[in-house]
Amino acid sequence: MTAEVESHTVAPAPGDTWTGKFRDRVARDLPPDKLLPDRQPSYVASWIYVFGVLTIAALLVVVATGVVLTLEGPEWYHISDVGHFFNSLHFWSVQLFFIFMVVHLWGKFWMAAWRGRRAMTWITGVVSFIVSLATAFTGYLMQTNADSQWITFEAKDGLNAVGIGAWFNVTNLGQTMLLHVCTLPLVVGLIVVLHVLLVRKRGVVPPIDAFKNEPAAASNTAEVTS
C-alpha cells in the first residue's frame, strides 16, 4: 500500500494546468509507440514510401556539410581543396535533396495522401518545399563567385518588381548569408518536424477505396488473409 500523501492540498487534476493539458494531449496524440513505431499497416509496402526518409536524410547531409562550411567561412572553398570537396558535398546533397523531395511529392499526390484529415500534412509538406527553395536560393547567392554575381543581378529584378526587393536585398551578402545559414534552415527544420509529427499522429494514409468491400460502417475491420 503506497503511503498516503500527507499534505494539506490535493494534487492538481491534469485539466487544471496548461502543462497537464498539454502533456495529456501529447500523450494522447503521440504515445511512444506512435512516435517511434516498430510496425506499420500492412499496406505500407512499396518503395515509394522510402522517399520521405531519403529527403530527410539528404537534408541532414546538407546541414552537416553546411555546418562544416561555416567553420571556415563562405570563401574557404575557393582556396582550399578540402573546402572545395565540402562545397561539392553540399552541392550534390542539395541535388539529391530536391530529387528525393520531388519523387516524394509525386508519390503523395498520386496517393491523395491528404485524405482522412491529413490536409495539414500535405500543407506542411508543400510549405517546407517552398521554404527549401528560398533556402537554396540564398545559398546560390552566397557562392561569392561569378555565378552568384549573375544570379544576384537577375534575381533582384524579379523581387524588385513585386516590392520584395526593397526589404530583402539580394546584393547584400551579409543579409543573404545570415538568412541562409541561420534563419531559413531553422524555419525549414521547424516545418519538417511539424510535418513528420503529423505523419506520426495521423498514421500513413490508407489506400484509396481501401474500404470499398466493407459494409457501410465507418470502421475498417477487414479480415485480411496474409
Partner: protein
C-alpha cells in the same frame, strides 16, 4: 580528394533543343533520374512484411 571527371564538367554544357524547349544534359539527367526513381518505386516489388496475418498487437 582530386576530382576525376570534374575537368569535363567545367566546360560549357551540351544542350538538347526541341523548338523553344532547351535543356542542359545535367538537368536532363536529374529530371530523368526523378522519373526513373518514381517509376521503379511504383513497379519494383517490395520485400517481406507477410508475417503478421491478424490484428497486430
Amino acid at each position: 580528394m582530386p576530382p576525376l571527371i570534374s575537368a569535363a564538367l567545367d566546360n560549357p554544357a551540351t544542350y538538347f533543343s526541341w523548338g523553344w524547349l532547351q535543356i542542359s544534359v545535367g538537368n536532363l539527367i536529374v529530371i530523368l533520374v526523378m522519373f526513373v526513381l518514381f517509376i521503379l518505386a511504383l513497379v519494383l516489388p517490395f520485400p517481406g512484411g507477410h508475417d503478421d496475418g491478424g490484428d497486430g498487437s
